[in-house]
């Protein structure tokens, strides 16, 4: 009988910077290490949803920050989130985008990507040191946000004015 091998759900984090001409000037791919307890709380909410209440996930939201504190299981947000805008130290947040899952029968895996771009229109450099993500659950008109991922980048990234940072989370399951 086949022995159970390691699972399960893995997340990879890709960060990429493009200059104003669309040229990629920086790209790194890491194995994300940091689901936090908010993911479990969101899953618990869904697992135990009364059928008449309709609690489901929605509103994916990738965020970036300048904090350098090591992530903790109980984190409820980034250490220092970079605000949306064109003021000093801000980045313009794009829209979260997800790609349709791909299933690979050869290696018994499936994955989808979740990405967002951040444009620096601040007039100066902006340094990104941490990345995270929220999802929400809906419950009869009430929307509750859960912070589910928090990663400290191994190396901080300096985004020059007019450059665009793209953050991609690839969520993979393996059977």
């Amino acid at each position: 009988m086949e022995r159970m091998r390691k699972p399960n759900i893995d997340v990879y984090l890709t960060v990429m910077v493009k200059d104003k001409n669309g040229k990629v000037v920086y790209r790194r791919r890491y194995k994300s290490r940091s689901f936090v307890v908010g993911f479990l709380n969101a899953l618990y909410t869904n697992f135990t949803s009364p059928p008449t209440a309709g609690q489901y996930f929605l509103d994916p939201n990738i965020v970036v920050g300048s904090g350098t504190t090591k992530p903790s299981i109980s984190d409820g947000g980034l250490t220092s989130q970079i605000g949306n805008g064109t003021g000093a130290g801000q980045l313009q947040y794009g829209t979260d985008s997800l790609t349709t899952p791909i299933t690979n029968l050869n290696n018994n895996s499936a994955s989808f990507t979740w990405s967002k771009s951040f444009t620096n229109g601040s007039g100066g450099n902006v340094t990104v040191a941490e990345v995270g993500a929220y999802i929400s659950t809906y419950n009869q008109g009430n929307i509750l946000a859960f912070f589910i991922l928090h990663d400290l980048l191994p190396s901080q990234i300096t985004i020059a004015n007019t450059q665009v940072l793209t953050v991609v989370y690839t969520i993979t399951i393996t059977t």
């Binding site: 091998r5 697992f47 135990t48 059928p51 690979n104």
Partner: protein, 191 residues
């Protein structure tokens, strides 16, 4: 480290004595779970496969409910006698042991789900999904596979049952008549 699941199996005899206990690392979330997550988060409906093998379009407001009541084998933790290796596209256990007290059946208890337990020293957290199965069939029953089936809910769109985890046990478990089998999935994150 990311999301891991552990599978705990325990057999209690008719006198309440634990006669078997193992804890394994579960390995087998299947594609249905990822597709459901995708549709909820993206708002784009794609197709899933229900436990009957039928394709359906996932509703953007579908749930992932697992806390089934007792005496029902349509969702929650299910057990079976199949021995096929799990595949990413599995839509059900290979051979489900149905609810009941007839030959080859087990009586399904209610599913319980505990909220997140966190340990800030180890930076870990987990939730647990548990169900107990009682053998009153009159003879021993061998269990070789376990799965977790979710329900989309019935108030909104699809009213479907779909498999999200499927595990083949490293060793089949024989549950004597009068004994009960407790199965727990511990879903863990580590930061």
């Amino acid at each position: 480290m990311n999301v891991k699941a552990y599978l705990k199996v325990k057999v209690i005899d008719k006198n309440g004595k634990c006669i078997y206990y193992r804890r394994y690392r579960s390995r087998s979330f299947v594609a249905n779970f990822l597709r459901q997550l995708f549709t909820n988060l993206s708002g784009q409906s794609i197709n899933n496969v229900n436990t009957s093998g039928g394709s359906y379009s996932i509703g953007t407001t579908d749930n992932i409910i697992v806390n089934d009541g007792s005496n029902d084998d349509s969702y929650g933790i299910l057990i079976g006698t199949g021995t096929s290796a799990p595949s990413i596209i599995n839509n059900n256990l290979s051979q489900v042991i149905s609810n009941g007290a007839s030959v080859g059946q087990m009586q399904y208890g209610a599913v319980s789900v505990t909220g997140a337990v966190t340990n800030t020293s180890t930076n870990t957290g987990y939730i647990t999904v548990t169900r107990t199965f009682t053998n009153n069939s009159g003879s021993s029953i061998t269990v070789s596979e376990v799965g977790l089936v979710a329900w989309s809910g019935n108030n909104l769109q699809t009213n479907q049952y779909y498999l999200i985890i499927h595990d083949l046990l490293p060793s089949p478990i024989t549950v004597p008549n009068g004994s009960s089998l407790s199965i727990s999935y511990e879903i863990q994150v580590a930061t």
